[in-house]
């Protein structure tokens, strides 16, 4: 079971909109960290994912284990939020 979801995004990222659309269609709430508005959190996104890209989706499960999905990757995102 999913406890919470955080998406790291930017204002101009089309793939971020796709992740939001997918989670919205599944009825899953999520928090957004917009790196254009909070550039100081870039290092956090990089540390979590090892990638300098958005979207980064962090899925935290009820047992506090975390799964990080880089980019708009349905093959990874779908099982992560199932």
């Amino acid at each position: 079971m999913v406890k919470n979801i955080t998406i790291f995004t930017t204002n101009t990222c089309a793939y971020c909109a796709m992740v939001k659309k997918y989670l919205g269609a599944k009825g899953l709430p999520y928090d957004v960290v917009n790196l254009d508005e909070q550039p100081e959190r870039q290092a956090e996104a990089l540390a979590l994912s090892g990638a300098m890209t958005v979207p980064i989706t962090v899925v935290t499960k009820q047992d506090d284990t975390r799964q990080v999905v880089i980019g708009y990757n349905l093959a990874k995102l779908a099982p992560a939020v199932a």
């Binding site: 793939y15 909109a17 796709m18 300098m52």
Partner: protein
Amino acid sequence: MTETKVHDVIMVGAGPAALAAAVYTTREDIETLLFERGVVGGLAAVTDMVDNYPGFPDGIEGLTLAENLRKQAERFGAVIELGEVTNIAKEGKLLKLETTSGDMLAKTVLIATGSDYKKIGVPGEQEYYARGVHYCATCDGAFYRDKRLVVVGGGNSAVQESLFLTRYATHIDLLVRSELRASEVLQHDLQKMVDAGKITVHLQTATNEIVGEDNHVVKVVGTDNASGKKIEFPADGVFVFVGLKPNTEFLKNSAIELDEIGLVKTNEDLETNITGVFAAGDVRSGSTMQIATATGEGATAALRIREYLEGHKQTS
């Protein structure tokens, strides 16, 4: 026993060509399902600014244009499913599509999967993918605030995205293998950035290697084609826009005919060699790879699909 639903038209892809086609088919009451494996709006959605799409005198952000096209198609009843089509084959008079949501049947199919940015194919490119090497400025540019960048390419995308990246980067070296091929308007805007010292253009410069240290990119090695001399460009990141490759890998096991570079062959009615399968936009052999022509081809394909379905109704 459950009967498998037969769709009037399944569109593979949800970029400008398919979304425009969907506006036309749904307004004709043709039941329309679109499959998109990537981003709705295709490459248009990840383009910073679109200045050559008619009707927008001040230009329009690619993401906004894509969003408007999506809303317009959905307003008339188009359904967009997020998933992937992996093969298309004839099944009697119908078409069978293998998809990540299972097999589906359709009376007609529109292939509108567009194209994606090519890779350069140099050492370091794969190794530093998403950790210094990027193909989407609007996605990843924000990571290069106050950093130095290299952009590779000389066409419209390379220049447009270089201009976008100046909002973050301190300096950009634009490496152009031969001459600039971007539109005059973009070259004019580029010149302003060159004059401001934000961008340096290196014509006749090949890109040979992307070099990293301690897990991040530090420089790009290139060659001056005229002198053959190696040049090093210090860089924290590299953005690559060196042309397009068609998204037709999923057709490799189908009977649909492709041209020598993998684009889908069609006749003048935009129909492929398989009856009932049409193609439009960047993925079609002979396409001019413009958003405006993609939407135009989408509209044409929709009208041909309507004619096909009407003929099919009369003969079935």
